[in-house]
């Protein structure tokens, strides 16, 4: 299976057999790559999820591309992606730097910060549904009238509620990434800066931020591409409503396929989702300045 390179040092060692990678490859081909081809194929069919699949040309694509709900779903997805990033990135960065500090109280706070990492999206959404209730939730509990709103029923507010709940759930994970990143910055950098009389803000801007460049790229990529997967949280929290205000693309795909029983159109939406995901990943890689694989190989 393996072909040896011309390097004389390696000539003896042919390396392990490619068969070791076969089980993983088979699983991945069957349950990821074939479905990926399948979603393209199914987008040219008509299927209700139970009966026979019928080839149907471009009619599903016509349905999807002329349906204003698709455009709306794309717009909602873009808005949630944008606001999630704007909210989560700075908070995670600051909290990561904060929790990486040596102080005891910060370590204690960090223990509590990371609890949302353990919760399922379903649990978070159900908890927030109760918490945001205008009569029996947080607002009346704290005696703050402005918190006692119909958060999930008000179409002007609901998007921001969704962004907030997403941030509540995912900021801890990104904080953890940043904390790890900050801990890898050599202490000598800060010691040298202190001798030079640099203040806290200057140290943050001139040491911490530049040193975290690749951590920022990782975290941002995970945030942006990950926002294409906020399905379960929004599904349980709002179901896409009120109206279509929080019906983002993955949710629209699910509802089209499994509630409206139009698997052809849902597959077309799936293809759109794949294309957007791929496009974003490539774009972020470009913005990162160099090939991410290379950056990994070159290491810390």
């Amino acid at each position: 299976m393996s072909t040896t390179t011309s390097s004389p040092r390696r000539a003896r060692d042919k390396g392990p057999s490619g068969w070791l990678a076969a089980p993983a490859l088979v699983f991945f081909l069957v349950f990821a790559i074939i479905p990926l081809i399948g979603v393209v194929a199914l987008s040219f069919t008509r299927w209700d999820g139970l009966g026979e699949i019928q080839v149907d040309g471009f009619s599903s694509w016509k349905t999807v591309l002329t349906d204003p709900v698709t455009g709306n779903a794309l717009w909602v997805t873009a808005k949630i992606m944008f606001f999630s990033f704007i909210v989560q990135a700075p908070i995670s960065l600051l909290l990561g730097v904060f929790t990486a500090g040596g102080q005891k109280y910060r370590a204690a706070l960090a223990v509590l910060y990371f609890i949302p990492l353990l919760l399922s999206s379903a649990a978070v959404a159900i908890a927030y549904k109760a918490l945001l209730d205008p009569n029996f939730g947080l607002g009346p509990g704290l005696g703050l009238p402005f918190l006692a709103q119909d958060w999930l029923g008000n179409s002007d507010l609901v998007l921001f509620v969704v962004v907030f709940v997403i941030a509540w759930q995912f900021v801890p994970f990104h904080t953890l990434i940043y904390q790890g990143g900050v801990r890898q910055i050599p202490a000598s950098f800060y010691e040298a800066a202190q001798i030079d009389g640099a203040g806290r803000v200057q140290q943050f801007l001139h040491i911490t931020l530049p040193q975290l460049k690749y951590t920022i790229i990782t975290s941002s990529t995970l945030m942006v591409v990950g926002s294409l997967a906020y399905f379960d949280l929004v599904f349980v929290l709002t179901g896409g409503g009120p109206g279509y205000t929080t019906r983002l693309l993955p949710l629209h795909m699910y509802l089209t396929g499994f509630k409206a029983n139009d698997m052809g159109a849902a597959s077309a939406l799936g293809v759109i989702l794949v294309v957007i995901g791929l496009g974003l990943a490539l774009l972020l890689q470009r913005l990162g300045g160099r090939n991410r694989n290379a950056s990994q190989l070159e290491g810390a």
């Binding site: 390396g15 102080q103 995912f170």
Partner: protein
């Protein structure tokens, strides 16, 4: 965490040696009041919802409607927990356990073997395999649920736990292989060569050298995937139907549908579903968190 699947390629630390503990950091030389304030504000944001859930789950229905939502119950009760436990909680818990262990352990095993082959091997087949896995990181794999649903129904696996396990294994592979192979590259080549000279097979080197040397990465990958599968919602929603195959996250959702008027009971189910992970967190917090960062941060 969303899911194990649509993660793009994170740069992973090459350091397998223990990271230098940093005793001095920004803000060590005088108290950072603003930072401290922000830290406490964020604590409130994190803790208030959790506090509300726990307190409410201990109230009876009448107490829920009459008392202040943020105050502890005057007559705390465990009736809600009893109700949840009587509604097949143990079975859902067991299902979640089977699905999580049934996907994470095989996924770890085959990903580890693949990572070993990719790092140590030189064939074109292996580099092609690696590129395919990397592609899997850039694609939101959940977009493929409809073909997966079709395959599972055709294979007569619909509404079985295996229907959840098989795609979960596949979706865990890309990130697992990436993190494991990044760590494996740091194992000095000389160690492999000396073992080779002693006549060791690849199989022996994999378990006796590569595995011990990449343990932090194995822990990271295991924890990350276990959290994703344990908390997964989409596969159970689409690929199972009956109560007998229900897993915990889905049970929360159906419970909420059945007992929508009994908010304290619904929140008790949220607490109960989270409790196992919370216990693990309390016991093994350090390993859990350092395990997660070991793989993800640079």
């Amino acid at each position: 965490m969303a899911s194990t699947t649509q993660l793009p390629v994170p740069p992973v630390t090459r350091q397998t040696a223990s990271p230098r503990p940093r005793t001095k950091g920004p803000g060590r030389f005088r108290p950072n009041l603003l930072g401290g304030l922000g830290g406490w504000v964020w604590l409130a944001i994190i803790i208030l919802p959790i506090y509300y859930v726990v307190v409410t789950s201990l109230k009876n229905q009448a107490g829920f409607f009459t008392s202040n939502p943020m105050l502890p119950p005057t007559e705390p009760t465990l009736d809600n927990y009893k109700l949840v436990l009587e509604n097949d909680f143990a079975m859902y818990f067991f299902n979640s356990l089977v699905v999580t262990l049934g996907s994470v352990i095989p996924a770890l095993l085959i990903s580890f073997m693949a990572a070993y082959a990719i790092v140590r091997g030189k064939s074109r087949f292996l580099s092609w395999t690696n590129s395919l896995f990397l592609l899997g990181l850039a694609i939101p794999l959940h977009a493929t649920i409809i073909p997966i649903y079709w395959m599972i129904t055709r294979a007569h696996l619909y509404d079985t736990l295996l229907a959840l396990i098989l795609p979960s294994i596949a979706f865990a592979i890309p990130i697992s292989v990436l993190i494991l192979s990044n760590f494996m590259r740091d194992v000095p080549n000389e160690l492999f060569e000396s073992m080779r000279l002693d006549g060791c097979s690849d199989w022996a080197m994999m378990w006796r050298l590569a595995l011990p040397m990449t343990r932090p990465a194995v822990v990271t990958v295991g924890i990350y995937n276990a959290l994703g599968v344990w908390n997964g919602f989409l596969f159970p929603l689409i690929l199972t139907q009956s109560p007998a195959t229900r897993v915990l996250p889905l049970s929360l959702w159906t419970f909420q549908g059945e007992f929508s008027v009994n908010i304290p009971a619904v929140l008790a189910s949220v607490v109960l579903a989270t409790l196992p992970l919370l216990v693990i967190y309390v016991v093994a917090r350090r390993q859990l968190l350092s395990g997660l960062t070991a793989g993800f941060s640079k």
